[in-house]
């Protein structure tokens, strides 16, 4: 199993130029025909964040100072993982022609989708950092640990996306189910509320959700300006790596049936 996993990665490396060409293709094509173009990429999180800001600081009082500083990193992180999963759940079916007629490592389609989402995420994070600098200075030096967590998050997202992409080929209603599950998980993940307000007997729900841990760490680094519990980081790293590996193994096991099923 380890052998096939590494050979799969080395085969992917051979196709890296395809990945980069596909990346630019996706970037070019996704806003074809839309008037606002790239602005859509930013407009979506901005509108949602504004809404949650209004709801949870004016209507329902969360009692957190500098609430946007709490809300924005968590929301953007959630948005990246969730939209990647949604896109991946449809990606294999949309690329039916390629998969049934060209021999290439199919996971490139899913992974490139995730990378496109990641680039959007990074761009929004950079814009957000400028906003913090202006409205909520100073930035703590803990922010330098953020790239490590970003790396873990992209591994986790790739793993889940690969698994979801596989299942969606077998069950065509999975993409619809994902959207509903996503809405439920949005509320179960500490995005607009801190993890510790969950009553301790229900906290297990958040603890088994790897994304909740990642967002929790972002909150520590960016909002609370403290160093997160190292054990938490180690657990998150192990979980992310495991999910990533499982994603690849599952995909590799099932990919040859795509050409027959899709």
């Amino acid at each position: 199993m380890i052998y096939t996993f590494t050979s799969q990665l080395s085969n992917l490396w051979k196709y890296r130029q395809l990945a980069s060409e596909l990346f630019w293709t996706y970037i070019k094509l996704r806003h074809v025909g839309s008037v606002l173009g790239f602005i859509w990429t930013l407009l979506n999180p901005i509108l949602y964040i504004l809404t949650y800001w209004v709801v949870f600081s004016l209507i329902i009082k969360m009692g957190l100072q500098n609430y946007p500083l709490f809300l924005i990193p968590g929301y953007l992180a959630w948005n990246f993982t969730f939209s990647s999963i949604v896109n991946s759940s449809e990606s294999i079916l949309q690329s039916k022609d390629l998969i049934t007629k060209i021999a290439f490592p199919n996971e490139i389609i899913v992974l490139t989708n995730v990378v496109v989402g990641f680039v959007d995420f990074i761009i929004s994070l950079i814009i957000f950092s400028i906003v913090i600098l202006i409205f909520y200075p100073p930035i703590s030096y803990y922010i330098t640990f953020v790239p490590i967590i970003l790396f873990l998050q992209i591994l986790l997202t790739m793993g889940i996306s690969l698994i979801v992409a596989c299942i969606s080929v077998y069950f065509k209603d999975v993409p619809k189910l994902i959207v509903i599950l996503g809405n439920i998980f949005f509320f179960l993940t500490p995005i607009f509320y801190p993890l510790d307000i969950i009553p301790s007997k229900f906290r297990i729900i958040a603890l088994i959700n790897p994304l909740a841990q990642i967002i929790n760490i972002y909150h520590d680094l960016i909002y609370y300006k403290v160093f997160p519990n190292p054990i938490l980081i180690i657990i998150t790293a192990i979980v992310s790596l495991t999910v990533f590996t499982i994603g690849f193994v599952v995909f590799n096991k099932l990919r040859f049936s795509f050409a027959e099923l899709s």
């Binding site: 051979k14 196709y15 130029q17 395809l18 060409e21 596909l22 293709t25 070019k28 094509l29 074809v32 022609d97 390629l98 998969i99 049934t100 007629k101 060209i102 021999a103 290439f104 077998y170 069950f171 065509k172 209603d173 999975v174 189910l177 040859f256 050409a259 027959e260 099923l261």
Partner: protein, 247 residues
């Protein structure tokens, strides 16, 4: 060299593969149907480097499946395939991998890397590809404005200039007009000097005898004849009713 050892390919059609709901119902339904059929049965093949192999047979006899197995798109249900070509190019359908909103130029680039070829080589080949395809002024136009023939020509042009050591062609040449078809065959004949291996599916007797030096006749998933071109075509023709037009 390609070695196919005892390969069989079974396809399945599950009644349950559509949605969660039907799968749930079918789980309790003991009379659920799984359709299975063998497309290929115990195929043994040995294709040496430089051979030009024609594949003939009726529709549904497994020609395309065999090509896809060799290309690595499908894996065999049982048996083993060894394919040690380093630059394989499979033309299962022309224009696959083209994005309709991208221009011809962008699509050439994308198609090139889709076949696992290094981008650095494209620079030298690019002008040749464009010229051979005859796309001309449409190079910077999105290919959704191309005619189907133009798209096919572009696809073939990219493939033929990729310098493959194994070229797999599945009936794709039927798309172009007569002039382009002739150009393609001239190009394929040129490849004889480069010692490439060719696997070629066609329903056209003349094309087969022009480019192939070995013919495999597939019939209902098994090899009926393997060898001499003329003999294969003759044997195959005998099984076809007299009033049918094509071989």
């Amino acid at each position: 060299m390609i070695i196919c050892k005892d390969i069989s390919k079974k396809f399945r059609w599950y009644e349950r593969s559509d949605s969660l709901k039907t799968s749930f119902v079918k789980f309790f339904d003991k009379s659920k149907k799984i359709w299975e059929w063998y497309v290929l049965k115990d195929i043994n093949l040995n294709i040496k480097e430089g051979e030009k192999v024609g594949l003939i047979g009726k529709n549904g006899c497994g020609k395309s499946t065999l090509l896809k197995l060799i290309a690595g798109i499908h894996i065999p249900t049982s048996g083993k395939i060894i394919n040690n070509s380093s630059r394989m190019l499979a033309l299962i359908e022309l224009g696959v991998g083209f994005y309709k909103d991208l221009t011809g130029k962008e699509n050439i680039k994308l198609n090139w890397v889709f076949n696992g070829l290094p981008k650095s080589e494209l620079k030298n080949k690019f002008d040749e590809i464009v010229e051979f395809s005859g796309v001309g002024d449409f190079l910077n136009t999105p290919i959704k404005y191309y005619s189907s023939g133009m798209t096919a020509r572009l696809g073939f042009s990219v493939a033929i200039h990729a310098n493959p050591d194994l070229l797999i062609v599945d009936e794709v040449l039927a798309v172009g007009d007569a002039e382009f078809q002739q150009k393609c065959f001239k190009k394929i004949e040129n490849l004889y000097q480069n010692n490439i291996t060719l696997i070629f599916v066609s329903h056209n007797e003349a094309d087969i005898s022009k480019v192939c030096n070995r013919v495999i006749w597939l019939d209902e998933g098994t090899i009926r004849y393997d060898g001499n071109v003329q003999e294969a075509l003759n044997l195959y023709k005998e099984t076809i009713p007299e009033n049918a037009l094509y071989v």
